[in-house]
């Protein structure tokens, strides 16, 4: 067992329903570590089955083509090939996956393999299964596919025209479209002293590219019709919702098992097409089948983050720098298939005004399909894109009007005394102190000495820039927001489940409904349970990973959307509270007193004020489970409790598109200093500060680790990580050679700080914070703008990713982007 490095100084005395920090707030050693540092983790590709077959997908080399014929006969002739699967079979054996959108998006037919047409390079067309990985790969080359290439569309604005349409059944590329209008934007325009117009901004395609690719090993039990999927799906509940109806079976027939997952970041939520293909193969071939995705396939054909174009941004501003709101036309590019989309069309509304007190907002939002990789809820999902917009607006407006970027933020930030703060569309920001976080960030990067640093940089021929990135990480969704997109959807609220039991030898065993990919759920769970039961985290056994057969779970179970500290630990707390109550009832029955006379401390249930009258946990477990004669008839306990945590949400007002869409709002405010070499466009991030506020921290190291990781990913997305396509729809960055993610030497010196603004809405005062909100992207763009731009002159940083060649273009031709911005002053 791992050792606890910190023990509480005094024994805990816990009242039912109350948790006092003992281990909560400490940096105990993670339970996950012992196996992971020995290479004893179990990732899906580590699981083996006798006689399993290896799957290789035959994938389309075309971005858009009709499939005229698929001939697998030559593959079958290879010795060691067990079988194949084609789109024609899939179309017979399964129904299309459930679509979330309204028509026309609702009419899209999405199958496990391409049926009739391929719609992006890498779209899987057939699958070959063989005795070894190499043989499957070899045999796949013998599959002959006759394609008839079609014209393609790679640009969202082009796709809107519906000249090249991806899905005949939808007869349009538009997946979803709608307008959001809150406050009085026209009134704000009339009241404004300045109106700034930004013609376009563009949030580029990238993804968090988890190091472990996707995959599964699927077994099929012919006798019971049960599939067991050892795979790294991070939200199997939703996976089952897609797969079960498609496979025409009940949800219980799909068992998802995972122990360790090598990162997900949202890219392992829409694995249902490939998993379904593997299920069909396991059943057809009557043997376990194993699929391992390759890096190239993950980049070309698994998932990207949403790519979003913002047009006609209009910002009314008062002379004193008060921003009254904004209007924008947003076009989201979701790639070839929506899948989890169009949820991204509403999720941004959790943070409509960003960190700011803007009351008048109008958003015209459209989502389209293009012949690119489908998207998934990549880390920061849809809020990051929108928050980047709000930060670019603040930054550009401040730049154009000559306002100090710090002052204008503080002027417009939601103020500490205004929390809980209701946004124009009814979301309630729970707590925070943005101005204070900003001050800490600026102090960490030595903002007061910035002008000296600028002079020093100039003496070395460099342009220095400093930028601020404010962001929110909204967590714990109210899924009722999906009804705003499609009133027919029957999803609302949220929930998570945990079970806690006291076993016969006094062992405490916890199961979680969540599916961790490195966030330390086993550890923080143990901290919470230990504090409630009055024992140590070492005595809490948290089952590693997730098994949908055995781990109790609910409709929204999974690890996504920055919610574990709230929903997961809320479920854990609820279950542990109940168990604590039962343990006291049992002790009271044994001692002949009332439960109020009992306290849980030092791994015992004992009479308050009389520590000699104590029952160790082992005794409690043994009495109820094996030695229970004589217990009162009305003692209704099981010492095996399940709790469903359900946050308080209402269904949103669909007509006004108004309501609280998320329970918590963590803050991250970053500051960045760059030095640009004007001779080449090459730049370095020379200083960096990240300040976070996620309410009460359960395990500070884990929180900080998430901040570090989110920062690194954001810096990658800001500098080199971009999915770019050529004219034929080929991805030009399909692997880590060209898609450069930060390595150890690429990271700037990273200074961190934090505050804790307790959330009034959550069981532990904590907020979810894993995603982060992309503050690094906002900060780097702002820093580049500061380095390259001058008031009223200089280029405008209008894209989220700025590799050296883009910086170069801005230096060479500032007028080209300058023309995107106009200021009308009254």
């Amino acid at each position: 067992m791992t050792e606890t490095t910190v023990t509480p100084e005094r024994p805990l005395v816990v009242e039912e329903g109350e948790t006092r920090p003992g281990f909560i707030g400490q940096n105990i050693r993670r339970k996950e570590d012992k196996r992971l540092v020995q290479g004893e983790g179990v990732f899906f590709d580590d699981v083996k089955r006798h006689e399993m077959g290896f799957v290789h997908f035959v994938r389309s080399p075309y971005a858009h083509a009709r499939i005229k014929a698929v001939d697998v006969s030559k593959a079958h002739e290879v010795d060691g090939v067990y079988g194949t699967l084609t789109g024609d079979e899939v179309a017979i054996l399964t129904d299309p996956f459930f679509e979330l959108s309204t028509p026309p998006g609702a009419n899209i037919k999405d199958y496990a393999l391409a049926v009739g047409r391929v719609r992006h390079v890498g779209d899987p067309v057939a699958a070959v299964v063989a005795r070894t990985r190499e043989l499957a790969r070899d045999a796949a080359e013998l599959v002959e596919v006759d394609y008839e290439p079609l014209p393609l569309v790679l640009d969202a604005e082009e796709a809107l025209k519906d000249e090249v349409v991806l899905h005949d059944d939808a007869a349009s590329n538009t997946v979803w479209s709608g307008t959001f209008d809150w406050g009085d934007f026209e009134g704000a325009l009339a009241e404004a002293d300045h109106v700034i117009k930004i013609e376009r901004l563009h949030f580029d395609r990238f993804s968090s590219t988890p190091l472990e690719c996707s995959g599964c090993l699927v077994e099929y039990n012919r006798g019971t019709g049960q599939w067991t999927i050892h795979g790294n799906h991070q939200m199997p509940g939703v996976g089952a919702i897609w797969m079960a109806p498609a496979l025409r079976v009940g949800i219980d027939k799909l068992r998802f098992v995972s122990q360790d997952i090598g990162g997900g970041f949202g890219n392992k939520i829409t694995l249902h097409p490939q998993f379904t293909a593997c299920c069909l193969l396991a059943r057809k071939l009557n043997r376990p089948v194993q699929w391992t995705e390759w890096r190239t396939d993950q980049h070309t054909a698994n998932t990207h983050g949403n790519e979003r174009t913002f047009l006609d941004i209009t910002v009314p501003v008062k002379a004193d720098g008060t921003m009254l709101g904004f209007s924008v036309r947003a076009i989201d590019d979701c790639g070839a298939f929506p899948r989890y989309e169009p949820l991204g069309c509403i999720i941004w509304a959790q943070v409509t005004p960003g960190c700011y007190r803007w009351r008048n907002v109008r958003v015209d939002f459209t989502q389209v399909c293009t012949n690119k990789s489908p998207v998934a809820p990549n880390r920061g999902y849809s809020r990051m894109q929108h928050l980047w917009l709000t930060e670019r607006i603040i930054d550009i407006v401040a730049g154009e009007l000559g306002l100090d970027p710090v002052d204008v933020r503080k002027k417009n930030y939601v103020k500490n005394e205004e929390f809980p703060y209701t946004t124009p569309n009814g979301c309630v920001y729970d707590s925070g102190d943005y101005a204070r976080c900003l001050d800490i960030a600026l102090e960490l990067i030595g903002y007061d000495k910035i002008e000296e640093k600028r002079v020093d940089a100039e003496s070395r021929g460099k342009l220095l820039g400093v930028g601020i990135g404010s962001t929110l990480d909204s967590g714990t969704n109210n899924f009722g927001q999906s009804m705003i997109l499609n009133p027919e959807l029957q999803f609302s609220g949220n929930n998570e489940v945990a079970t806690v039991k006291l076993d016969i030898f006094g062992e405490v065993v916890v199961t979680l409904g969540t599916v961790p990919q490195g966030q330390g759920h086993e550890t923080t769970t143990a901290q919470v349970v230990a504090d409630i039961l009055g024992c140590t985290p070492d005595e809490i056994n948290v089952r590693a990973g997730h098994d949908s057969y055995w781990n109790s779970h609910a409709g929204f179970s999974g690890t996504y959307a920055s919610q574990f500290a709230v929903t997961g630990l809320g479920a854990v707390k609820g279950a542990a509270d109940k168990l604590a109550g039962e343990m006291k009832q049992l002790a009271a029955a044994v001692f002949g007193c009332t439960p109020d006379d009992i306290e849980l401390a030092e791994s015992q249930a004992r009479i308050k004020g009389n520590p000699e009258a104590a029952l160790p946990f082992m005794a409690l477990g043994a009495i109820l489970n094996a030695n229970n004669a004589g217990l009162p008839e009305d003692l209704d306990i099981s010492l095996n409790v399940r709790h469903v945590y359900r946050p308080q949400f209402e269904k949103p007002d669909l007509e006004r598109k108004y309501g609280n869409l998320t329970l918590t709002y963590a803050t991250q405010i970053h500051a960045c200093v760059v030095e640009v070499d004007p001779e080449t466009g090459v730049y370095d991030i020379v200083d960096y500060a990240a300040v976070d506020d996620c309410g009460d921290r359960i395990h500070p190291q884990i929180v900080e680790g998430q901040v570090h990781g989110a920062t690194a990913q954001a810096l990658g997305a800001a500098t080199h990580e971009i999915f770019t396509y050529d004219e034929e729809g080929n991805l030009l960055t399909p692997n880590f050679y060209d898609y450069h993610v930060p390595h150890a030497l690429d990271m700037p010196p990273l200074r961190t700080g934090y505050i804790e603004s307790t959330s009034p809405f959550t069981p532990l005062g904590a907020k979810g914070m894993g995603e982060g909100g992309g503050a690094g992207i906002h900060a780097v763009c702002a820093a580049l703008q500061n380095a390259l731009g001058k008031r009223g002159e200089g280029p405008i940083v209008w894209r989220s990713c700025n590799p050296y060649h883009r910086v170069w273009e801005m230096l060479q031709n500032p007028a080209e982007t300058r023309k995107f911005v106009s200021v009308e002053s009254r």
Binding site: E134, D138, R295, T296, T680, H720, H740, H743, D746, W808
Partner: protein, 267 residues
């Protein structure tokens, strides 16, 4: 990720290696594998047979002659070269090797492999051209030597043809060398690179701008002279996701000036 079937041999002598390479059309020499294995994983090229050179002691070792010539065995790894006292006689060699990729790649990747694969973004082809190195080749017909500037023939193609093996590289004495590059991230792939050697005038070799390193000579070594010489070369660099042709052409000029400046500074 998964190679096609291939035969494998690990000969014990250069003679045997040359015989294996000459006898089979589809045989390729396997040096460190840091390029070739990746190429085979992608199935961009699939030799029928691999002739592993790792047991050939004759291809290892770095010799420093009395006249200052550094002779490097083709199978010397970047790490070995960086640690070599003999190679320090021409410091730019170790300096450039230290910029290549990462520790793991440097531990296996070889000097010979880097020049023979002749990927346009490689570091050593332009370096060897600027240093005026000599490449020693062994084939069925015996040994021959080729100056570096005649060694590189096309993308992935060098004068070491089928059935031939690069055995060593001799680098003449000198110290006034420079190397500059723009890379994707620290120690990442080069977008442009330039190697310069000053000896009276300057020998400049530009990488990444053509199929082979572009050799430019200038009588004067100051920035303006270098710039003018590069412009006169009328480069037509490729365009890719990291740089347009124009941007690459501009960067090439910048790194040429920087490399020459570094070389000048060491006179």
């Amino acid at each position: 990720m998964l190679l096609r079937e291939v035969e494998y041999a690990r000969p014990a002598s250069v003679q045997e290696a040359v015989r294996l390479l000459s006898d089979h059309d589809g045989a390729r020499a396997l040096a460190g594998g840091q390029t070739l294995i990746n190429v085979m994983k992608a199935r961009a090229a699939s030799p029928d047979a691999l002739v592993d050179l790792s047991a050939l002691a004759e291809l290892k070792g770095i010799d420093l002659a009395a006249d200052g010539t550094v002779t490097i065995g083709a199978m010397v790894t970047y790490t070995e070269l960086m640690a070599s006292a003999e190679a320090r006689a021409r410091p730019i060699l170790g300096d450039v090797c230290a910029q290549i990729a990462d520790v793991q790649v440097r531990n296996r990747g070889t000097i010979g492999g880097n020049v023979c694969s002749n990927d346009p973004t490689n570091h050593l082809p332009p370096l060897m051209v600027s240093l005026g190195a000599t490449m020693h080749i062994v084939g069925a017909n015996g040994e021959r030597s080729v100056p570096a500037e005649e060694f590189f023939l096309g993308v992935y193609m060098t004068a070491a043809g089928p059935g031939e093996l690069l055995t060593k590289i001799s680098v003449p004495p000198g110290k006034s060398d420079g190397f500059a590059s723009v890379t994707i991230g620290r120690d990442g792939t080069c977008i442009v690179n330039a190697a310069a050697s000053v000896n009276g005038g300057v020998r400049l070799a530009l990488g990444c701008v053509d199929a082979v390193p572009v050799l430019i000579k200038a009588g004067a070594t100051d920035d303006d002279a270098v710039r003018a010489a590069v412009r006169e070369a009328n480069l037509q660099p490729p365009s890719d996701v990291h740089a347009s042709a124009d941007y690459r052409r501009h960067l090439a000029e910048v790194v040429a000036v920087r490399a020459a400046g570094e070389a000048r500074g060491k006179r």
